[in-house]
């Protein structure tokens, strides 16, 4: 028993040391640093297009690298590639397992990937020879559901799973290159850095971790949330991390000084965050909530500057296009809306 006490004291003292070290590097708070910037006025976005076609809850969507294409996955077992400007469906891919939880579009535009309760990540080749879309690879090695997948290039993909690990795959051989283990809860989401050298993952152990793709090591663990981290994304300059959690708050962390900068919360918001996306410059943060709305936050001042209300059920996924001109929200009411 004496040993336990000793260990407990040591753990506590180390945690205090970390807090002191972090304070030492905090030469200013975000509030002070942005005191001089102008306030963003009320942002009003309107629904410009509604993409109809899914028959069940939409669980995920992802913009392509081009300016108007996106892919969405729904529990009716379909992966649909949309041309958002004309609202046409470019491809409607039937899936083997209808319990899909995530989808991703490769930066080159040639591949899409999806996965879910089948524990596998299926890669589809959109630019196949006779125009048919076929399964190119099925990456099966996870022992839990696939919660998120993101392409690093046409030959590599990172997946996060409910078995608490993330895996970097080599698509051509279909094998795992690196397994990133360290989370203590289901990994719910992941985001790849703009320079493709690292990625971040958020999990049900209330933390987010930053990993180096080449070394396979976890470089930062960011805690502070009081419930599962559902959504995660890089700040556009690659030095910050945005997380959204079931405790109804979003947080911004700084990677270089290894601490939390600001929390986006409001007493009127009690429902958890399901998805988030920063605007192109990073000044605005769009977060989708369980109460069927998307709130737009001023990322620097942590104030709400707008609401996107238009869905009849939970907003499950949100994405900002690569040129920052439009944002797309997908919901359990089976519609995708494009806002501008």
């Amino acid at each position: 028993m004496g040993e336990m006490e000793q260990l407990r004291k040591e753990a506590e003292s180390l945690k205090d040391q970390i807090i002191v070290a972090r304070k030492g590097f905090a030469d200013t708070t975000l509030q002070e640093a942005v005191a001089g910037t102008a306030v963003v006025s009320r942002v009003q976005l309107k629904t410009r297009k509604t993409l109809r076609g899914h028959l069940a809850k939409i669980y995920a969507m992802h913009w392509g690298a081009g300016l108007t294409q996106c892919v969405s996955a729904s529990q009716d077992g379909k992966l649909i590639v949309w041309d958002t400007l004309s609202t046409n469906k470019v491809n409607a891919i039937p899936l083997k397992s209808s319990w899909v939880m995530t989808c991703a579009y490769a930066p080159s535009g040639n591949l899409v990937a999806c996965g879910g309760l089948d524990n596998m990540c299926s890669i589809y080749n959109l630019k196949g020879k006779d125009g048919n879309v076929k399964v190119m690879r099925e990456l099966a090695s996870h022992t839990g559901y696939l919660s998120c997948c993101r392409f690093v290039s046409d030959s590599e993909i990172i997946t996060s799973s409910g078995d608490c690990t993330c895996i970097l795959w080599d698509i051509e051989t279909g094998t795992e290159k690196t397994i990133f283990a360290g989370h203590l809860g289901d990994c719910m989401s992941l985001g790849v850095a703009p320079d493709f050298k690292s990625f971040i993952s958020g999990a049900c152990d209330y933390t987010a971790k930053h990993w180096d793709i080449r070394d396979g090591n976890c470089t930062h663990t960011l805690s502070g949330h009081e419930s599962d981290v559902n959504a995660i994304g890089f700040f556009p300059n690659g030095n910050g991390i945005l997380t959204g959690s079931d405790d109804a708050t979003c947080k911004l962390y700084d990677l270089r000084s290894d601490q939390e900068l600001i929390t986006y919360q409001d007493a009127t918001i009690m429902c958890g965050v399901t998805s988030l996306a920063p605007s192109l410059s990073g000044r605005l943060l769009l977060a989708g909530y369980d109460d069927f709305n998307v709130n737009i936050w001023d990322a620097l001042k942590a104030e709400r500057v707008g609401v996107l209300a238009g869905h009849d059920n939970r907003v499950s996924c949100i994405g900002v296009s690569s040129d920052g001109m439009a944002c797309c929200t997908g919901s359990w009411d089976s519609f995708l809306k494009i806002w501008n």
């Binding site: 180390l14 945690k15 669980y59 078995d163 608490c164 419930s227 079931d246 009690m270 429902c271």
Partner: protein, 465 residues
């Protein structure tokens, strides 16, 4: 045969809805006799039942409490109704808050959604049976279907269920009329929330369940503490760097693209902060393409540029497509590793042996050992010399120090008019590839050529002697 999924890790008992605690706190505030929502009495034919609220009172209270507008107050109220903390007295199947004179009542805590026990089918069966006893044929279509299904699945318990239903019905009759009405309403509201009619949006719909059990407590053994200690020690050891790329004028505020131009890949005079960043570590220098350019220039002057070229070629193998690995590895062997190669690199015998052996069956990481050796060589020797070299000093001298903007109003307006679209990323990538090709074509110093020329000269000299 029905397959009951018991594998929900206790999540049905305490749904993964962290917001319920906050809503409960709000409900308690609303029920406060002095500062809460004003209640009225509800009049049924003869009986009057106290503690009813009107929708508009609830909306007004919420709007005042949180200082929001009525529409948002209505949305928050609807959320509370959807979770089952407040239930409507008329139109009980639609779980929304109407901001007019329609009446609502607070649900008793026994029926709040965050209780410790799951929502059991047995209880639902008892409830439906009770309603059947009271008045035959009063069940809705979906309730009738559910009742039939439950009858099939819970057939082994059916006597118990019917007996319970009869008992509860009899106990209910013995209550006073107002209490009976209230209890019936509460129970009915509870089941509307937890067994919603098909096609309606339910707040209890949590989507796919997660594997980790939120209720599981981790036991605090010494192993647990050791893990925490190791982790926190690593946390402390990690260096916390405070560096930032230069802050020029913010292009989003001033419409001046100078910030982006100064930090682009092809700039001649990088900013001071960027140049300083190269001194932090060798990795920082290599990860910045502009830094690598400068380093390459320095190495060329020292006639050791094959090291950096080898390192970059190894990176290309590691990150390239699997089909080109074989070809690239062969190319690297011919150019850098073979005896008499034009750009022979200096690695020790053991590493060379291991690498050559591996190259017989090349895979992505076959050149890792050699690459690490060269990396350490460059880091220990060349990096230090580079930082003291005239090439680097030149960069430091020419480094610009961009300041925050001091544009006047008219200048800002002018900038806004002069906004131009930036180069398309496709064109930028083409430019990069062209540069790369030019670099390779311009050719490194070909050692064999040089050596053979020197040999020829020596032979001539000897011949002359």
């Amino acid at each position: 045969m029905t397959i009951r999924n018991v594998h929900d890790c206790g999540q049905r008992h305490r749904p993964r809805v962290a917001c319920l605690k906050k809503v409960e706190a709000l409900v308690l505030e609303m029920q406060d006799p002095t500062s809460g929502v004003k209640s009225q009495t509800q009049r049924l034919v003869i009986t009057t039942i106290p503690h009813a609220l009107t929708g508009e009172d609830v909306v007004a209270w919420i709007a005042k409490r949180f200082n929001v507008d009525a529409a948002e107050g209505c949305a928050i109220g609807t959320m509370m109704v959807a979770f089952g903390y407040i239930y409507p007295l008329r139109d009980h199947k639609r779980l929304i808050l109407k901001s007019d004179a329609s009446l609502y009542r607070f649900q008793t805590p026994y029926f709040w959604p965050a209780q410790q026990w799951p929502v059991e089918d047995t209880d639902y069966a008892i409830y439906l049976a009770k309603r059947n006893i009271r008045k035959n044929g009063v069940l809705e279509l979906h309730e009738q279907e559910q009742y039939n299904n439950l009858h099939k699945w819970l057939n082994h318990k059916w006597d118990f269920i019917v007996m319970q239903a009869k008992e509860q019905y009899r106990a209910g009759k013995e209550r006073k009329k107002p209490d009976r009405v209230v209890f019936d309403c509460q129970e009915r509201a509870y089941w509307v929330v937890h067994r919603p009619p098909p096609g309606s949006v339910s707040a209890m719909d949590l989507g796919l369940l997660r594997l980790i059990d939120p209720n599981q407590e981790e036991s605090e053994t010494s192993d647990y503490f050791r893990r925490i200690i190791i982790f926190t020690e690593q946390c402390i050891m990690r260096p916390r760097v405070k560096s930032s790329v230069s802050l020029g004028a913010n292009p989003w505020l001033t419409d001046d693209p100078a910030y982006w131009d100064l930090n682009s890949l092809t700039i001649d005079n990088p900013t001071r902060m960027r140049v300083e960043r190269w001194t932090f570590s060798f990795g920082e220098l290599l990860s910045d393409p502009r830094g690598r350019d400068g380093f390459r220039l320095f190495l060329k002057k020292e006639f050791s540029s094959e090291n950096l070229a080898f390192w970059e070629a190894c990176e290309a193998v590691k990150w390239g497509t699997a089909s080109t690995i074989h070809e690239k590895a062969q190319q690297i062997y011919k150019t850098f590793l073979a005896r008499g190669a034009p750009r022979w690199i200096n690695i020790d015998g053991k590493t060379m042996e291991v690498t050559v052996r591996g190259l017989k069956h090349p895979h992505r990481y076959v050149l890792d050992a050699a690459q690490t050796h060269i990396y350490m060589l460059m880091k220990k020797d060349k990096y230090g010399r580079y930082l003291k070299s005239p090439v680097y000093m030149d960069y430091q001298r020419r480094a610009t120090d961009p300041e925050a903007h001091n544009f006047t109003e008219t200048q800002l307006a002018q900038n806004a008019k002069n906004r131009r679209p930036s180069l398309s990323p496709i064109i930028l990538r083409q430019q990069e590839e062209e540069q790369q090709a030019k670099l390779e074509a311009s050719g490194p110093v070909d050692l064999t050529q040089v050596m053979s020329k020197l040999d020829k000269r020596n032979m001539l000299k000897e011949g002359q002697k």
